[in-house]
Symmetry: C2
Subunit: 438 residues, 2 copies
């Protein structure tokens, strides 16, 4: 059966990652802990780059790692070493990349409400592309670039009328979302004309992002077709072809055993087929196509390691019972189950057990009833305080959405490779949590 | 119409709090900003203390401020100045209180999974009561107290079979929650016997917390009756009466105009009626009753102040439109709408406007479609970038659940009183967000 753990994880006689045991990780770094498989990160990032390059050839644009999924200085260095780009949404994410001298041309700035300071910083840093999201922003970027004597490359974020969520997608006329310019309403065309009127802006193409944790290619195909149709209209009106097309991210990953992550090679084969077909239909040259995987790179690389603190068996109606297994983290280090009803897998990490599986719930240590990481899972009945629990596929939107709820310090991030574990983000202390208090 | 804003807020010609205008707050401290009405905090905290004292007289226990709702060093000082106690759930919350020399006897330690280090720290600090939540913990507290030659006062957290949420509650035999010992299953009685067997533990009474954001007294009455019935059974078995009873918190507050917060005097009158009646029924002396308001004290004291960055009108089906108003914060500084579907009110804060109200949605600046603070609100159609928006009743579970999602620095907390505004929690910088990165 497929596993949501990263490639270097093994389970006998206890969980090891990159040759390092769960027990030694807990002993050296403490728990809760985010443990990232460094080689797996490079493999996944390279797989997206290779798939884009091999299917699109000279029409390959850039793989932009979506920083929102998880970013820190070391991950920014890795991204740069792989030789792909980075998609940042804020000045803060841009500052992380800039702090490790990430090349400006490999950066793309997103966001529905960029501040003037963020835009100015991006222009001055030489960010490769600013993805524009509103008429207010067109005016701002144009003005701030003009004031600096620069011509800024921009993309327009369009809503193509696709609402995609996991296994289903809908094609609609309108999208009731904060992002982008609607093609159907005419806002997109008006934005194009507006951008074209500013000499300090150079429109390179369109951008679309249809959703998150998507499986299947239908949504991407419809979005690509609608963007390319608009590109043809642009060519007819302005006499030149747009050289780029950014189809965003949202590629689904496996969270549970038996689920399968989207495969880069298959995704890019499918994108190339639709892009080449739609371009041929409109007699357009194939543009340079870019994509923005984030979760699809970092999500499967990481597991969260916890220590069990207490257990408790609760009687339910009908003579059933539920075993509560409380770990030393919770909704502060992984809010996805509480926020989205996200599902996760878990394993006993420090030993093997052939004890009978029993209906269990993994909960955190927060003073909140909804502090549940896994609502229902069969776990060995002999799991006891002191045991370690590993929850895989927590690399994306775990640390990045983490809080200090109940004044829990945020866990360290430890990278493991070839038998060596090292901290890449330090654990917070109680003093850190009061450092801003007067 | 009642307002969810704190007592010192006025609206003409623009929003003022404690005599300070929204415009000057934004200019001096920047946005997003949490603005807390210091006098209002003292008034609300005192109202709970006065109501407990006046209704229970010599049977009044302690008002414990629930730190999880919002805690920092200054708020811990305020709580101490008011002369009430503090309920902490973790070592981190305890560390904040300890850092301002909060008296140990006024502290109560909660949590379903306290670590041994947290328990040891609490015993050594002289925390007044540890509220025990599992059999593992009874053993741990007994052992750690014994090792230190101390007798620790403890309460037992019981699940009384009440599930209360806002306007409804259910009385059931079982509670499928991680907290407490079930009365119905017999676990509670077993825990009592276990505690009684340890000379290093002194059982002072029972604790119950039935839920959050509760209106009405029925749930509290049923819980109190069940706890008092068990107290009578304790008296019959052990020949002495338990001197304390802690009925927890969960008192609902107004988030929207027209809603009414629970009134301390009414709450305590109702609690006294049920406690005295149930005690009389079982020929028990009335114990010292404690309560744990958190949200009910700090929630209404605070509004969040934002600057509008962009606006956008989206066409919906049926010829309708929705105006998106994007502010410079979002789900990182207030995750309650995304997490619980919580509803909030908002007002234009920097000026008066008689422009036509239009169907609007207040969204943040995060790269996430669900980054919505208010799904539907009528706001003046002339609201534009640069305007200030104030969202009231964000004092509880705003800053305490805040994240750095998209690397947004967490906002400052500013206290205002008598025309003077001062920072009590500093705003984070980009450098702070990278301070733990290697």
């Amino acid at each position: 059966m497929s596993s949501p753990f990263s490639q270097s994880v093994t389970f006998t006689p206890e969980l090891h990652i990159g040759g390092v045991s769960a027990t030694s990780l807990a002993k050296e770094f403490g728990t809760p802990l985010y443990v990232i498989d460094e080689a797996d990160f490079f493999t996944r990032a390279m797989a997206w780059k290779s798939a884009l390059d091999s299917h699109f050839g000279s029409h390959a644009g850039t793989v932009y790692y979506a920083a929102k999924s998880q970013i820190n200085r070391e991950i920014a260095r890795w991204i740069n070493q792989v030789g792909i780009g980075i998609d940042v949404c804020t000045g803060g994410e841009m500052a992380v990349a800039a702090s490790v001298n990430f090349p400006g041309e490999g950066m793309e700035l997103h966001g529905n409400n960029k501040s003037e300071a963020e835009i100015a910083d991006a222009i001055e840093y030489g960010v490769g592309a600013i993805v524009m999201d509103s008429f207010h922003e067109i005016e701002r970027v144009a003005r701030l670039a003009h004031e600096r004597g620069k011509v800024q490359k921009v993309l327009l974020r369009l809503t193509a009328g696709i609402s995609a969520h996991t296994h289903e997608f809908m094609a609609t006329a309108h999208e009731d979302v904060k992002f982008g310019f609607s093609i159907a309403s005419g806002a997109a065309w008006k934005a194009i004309e507006e951008v074209q009127s500013h000499p300090s802006l150079r429109l390179a193409g369109f951008h679309s992002h249809i959703g998150s944790q998507i499986f299947g290619s239908e949504g991407f195909a419809i979005a690509a077709a609608r963007l390319i149709e608009l590109s043809a209209k642009f060519r007819d009106a302005f006499g030149s072809e747009l050289p780029e097309l950014d189809l965003g991210g949202g590629y689904g990953i496996a969270y549970l055993p038996g689920e399968e992550s989207m495969v880069p090679d298959a995704v890019l084969a499918s994108l190339f087929a639709v892009v080449s077909e739609e371009c041929a239909k409109h007699s357009l040259a194939i543009p340079r196509v870019s994509i923005e995987p984030g979760r699809a790179i970092v999500g499967p690389t990481t597991f969260s390691l916890y220590t069990v603190g207490t257990t408790k068996t609760v009687e339910l109606d009908g003579g059933l019972t539920r075993r509560y297994v409380a770990i030393d983290g919770g909704m502060s280090d992984n809010i996805r189950p509480a926020l989205y009803g996200a599902t996760y897998h878990a394993v006993l990490a420090n030993r093997e057990s052939s004890a009978k599986p029993t209906s269990s719930r993994i909960v955190g240590k927060h003073c909140e009833t909804g502090d549940i990481l896994i609502r229902e899972i069969d776990l060995q009945a002999d799991i006891q305080p002191g045991d370690l629990i590993a929850i895989p596929a927590t690399g994306a939107y775990g640390r990045s959405l983490a809080s200090n709820y109940n004044h829990l310090p945020r866990p360290a991030v430890v990278a493991v490779k070839d038998g060596v574990a090292r901290v890449i983000v330090k654990r917070e202390s109680y003093a850190d949590l009061m450092a801003h208090d007067l």
